[in-house]
Symmetry: C2
DNA sequence: CCTATTCTGTCAATCGATTGCCAGTTTGGC
DNA sequence: GCCAAACTGGCAATCGATTGACAGAATAGG
């Protein structure tokens, strides 16, 4: 129900917020002095500063970020563009980014490109006019597009590498190695990779890493396409998985893995007895189904923190300091098992 | 790994974005004419307008929202404050809000109060200086706080009712009635409500509605406290639920329900055979466990759309038009069953 | 052909803050 | 005591856009 109390609606009589001019008038100092009292501690006589600060407090003064942005060129705002806000993967990443941003007194603006490169580009462009820098997570854009955006304002890409653009990516090898090792120990020899979007850099990184490792271990491996990186996409791929005659499958992400898991159960293929499944990201809910999904987890929170910190230094024009690697980890739950003899 | 290509870093040589002054110089018209050409179609000679628009295009002109905000007082931005960004409930709501906002050419700023009223208030205040209006979802603030915020700038609350403040809430009755009806049919007579945060208005609405209905149907019902509205909180409440000797429980939200479901399974209490569980919100993942969780779903997407539209009209100072009710719906999956004789 | 409109484009003030430069006042060193 | 250095605070320009008022030009009506 849509409720609104017509009687008491406060609309109309909102009083304009206090400005430094109000404080100036109120204290008898000039606006520039007020500005200094508020932003350059120590620049003025201590008593003056005190008086002005008190007046500001009293008048409920809040700085107008827009007005400040004009002369300084700094908006105190960071933009975060993700491909799909509906994907639980981004939880921790967002949290991490938020955390660092608020530490630095910046606000985070959030946008969703709905898995569309065209939309992503236009959103990023619009956002760029109002932020100090941009975080692009799992971008579907071409390298050239990203480089162009990066030439306009500071930008950091996450889960992606682009020549000449600052980036933060996890090290996928440890997690993949652990998972593939667990599978090999349990007798698996024929493995499939259920792929994600072709435009996803992370998809090809995962596939490539898995492929190289499997080959070097003498395992056979195939890539199987999926229609979309969602539960529906995973379910849809079920038939192609069984047709491929493999005993284990890595899915590009947990959403796909979850869809496949469910489809398998529904069609009478036992997981993990007849088919082992490993996802990526260890999203919220991965541990919910029976069997609980085994997954390769990225340190998303740290990724978000790291990327944001990187963006902040980029904005300050400071040199980037390399950080330690951010390794992925294999969370082994119940969706893998030994091959039946 | 933290990657950055030192060689190609574009930093430093970013060229300043084009302004209306650049366009003015480039076309020989005055800045005010440029402004009019871009914002008041028809106000100028068609040829002039064309020439200016072309030049703008050519120079890659993007309006500076900060600069515009100063004289107009409109930032073209809406703020959305949720209590916990990590709660999947907000997905659809955010999507809905985003959808309407982008239709209206506004950007959505997103903030998270981490379930803390203090933080929520300070975040809201900070945000208010840079947005045209605020959306408060599931606010933990007191009525008075909300009214004060509302007196500064347009504000709409979602999932909450506050005297004198525009609000959008779903109608919880239909879903609760359907769920309780299903339970009654299956022989349940002793029901528990596993409560959410006391500061949550929606919590008391759900409890109250459930309570009244149960009483009027002659069912016995108890409220059981939980420590926090998360899976951990639900698990933690398990013992108190069994001690209460009920055959069915409604949980304040799906997170709690999921936690309880898991705890029950782990401690050997069969769901739904020995205990029926109903959640609220039907979040992502509710259908994942075995048994899949039955849940009462709010039309969150529409809620978000409605609230955003309402905020937009509030900003324009237009009168609010009442909309149709937004009924909840009972999604019956596998977590309820008949009482064992 | 003359006046009354309607068009077009420019001027200049304004939004709220920041900041380089300057001048008057203190303070300090010797 | 005298001069230099350090403090304090104000002036005025600036950031990029918007907009009311106005003037000259074009058009219309009779």
């Amino acid at each position: 129900m849509d409720q609104s109390d017509a009687t008491a609606s406060v609309r109309g009589e909102r009083k304009a917020p206090a400005t430094i001019y109000d404080i100036a008038r109120h204290t008898g100092f000039s606006p520039s002095t007020v500005s200094r009292a508020l932003n350059k501690p120590g620049r003025l006589n201590a008593t003056t500063e005190r008086r002005i600060r008190d007046a500001a407090e009293e008048l409920g003064y809040r700085i107008n970020p827009m007005a400040r942005a004009l002369p300084t060129g700094k908006t105190g705002t960071l933009g975060l563009v993700v491909s799909d806000i509906t994907n639980p993967v981004y939880f921790d990443l967002v949290r991490g980014a938020e955390h660092i941003a608020s530490e630095a007194d910046s606000t985070l603006i959030f946008a969703d490109s709905q898995e569309s490169a065209r939309l992503e580009r236009s959103i990023a462009e619009r956002l760029q006019t109002s932020v100090d820098g941009l975080l692009l997570v799992g971008s579907r854009l071409g390298d050239q597009d990203i480089r162009e955006l990066s030439s306009v304002k500071p930008l950091v890409v996450v889960n992606r590498l682009v020549d000449g653009v600052p980036a933060v990516v996890p090290d996928v090898a440890p997690g993949i190695e652990a998972a593939l090792g667990a599978l090999r120990e349990r007798g698996h020899r024929r493995i499939a990779y259920l792929a994600g979007p072709e435009a996803s850099w992370m998809n090809t990184l995962r596939w490539q890493t898995l492929f190289d490792l499997a080959v070097s271990w003498g395992l056979s491996i195939v890539e199987i396409k999926s229609t979309e990186p969602t539960r529906a996409g995973g379910a849809e791929a079920f038939q192609r998985i069984v047709a491929a005659d493999v005993t284990a499958v890595f899915a590009y992400n947990d959403l796909i893995a979850l869809g496949l898991l469910r489809a398998s159960r529904d069609r009478g293929v036992a997981v993990p007895e007849s088919l082992s499944i490993v996802g990526f990201d260890d999203i919220f809910g991965a541990d919910l189904p029976t069997p609980a999904l085994s997954s390769i987890r990225s340190p998303l929170g740290e990724l978000g923190e790291r990327a944001t910190r990187r963006l902040l230094t980029e904005i300050d024009g400071a040199p980037a300091e390399a950080g330690a690697a951010l390794p992925t980890r294999f969370i082994d739950r119940e969706s893998i098992a030994a091959v039946r003899s």
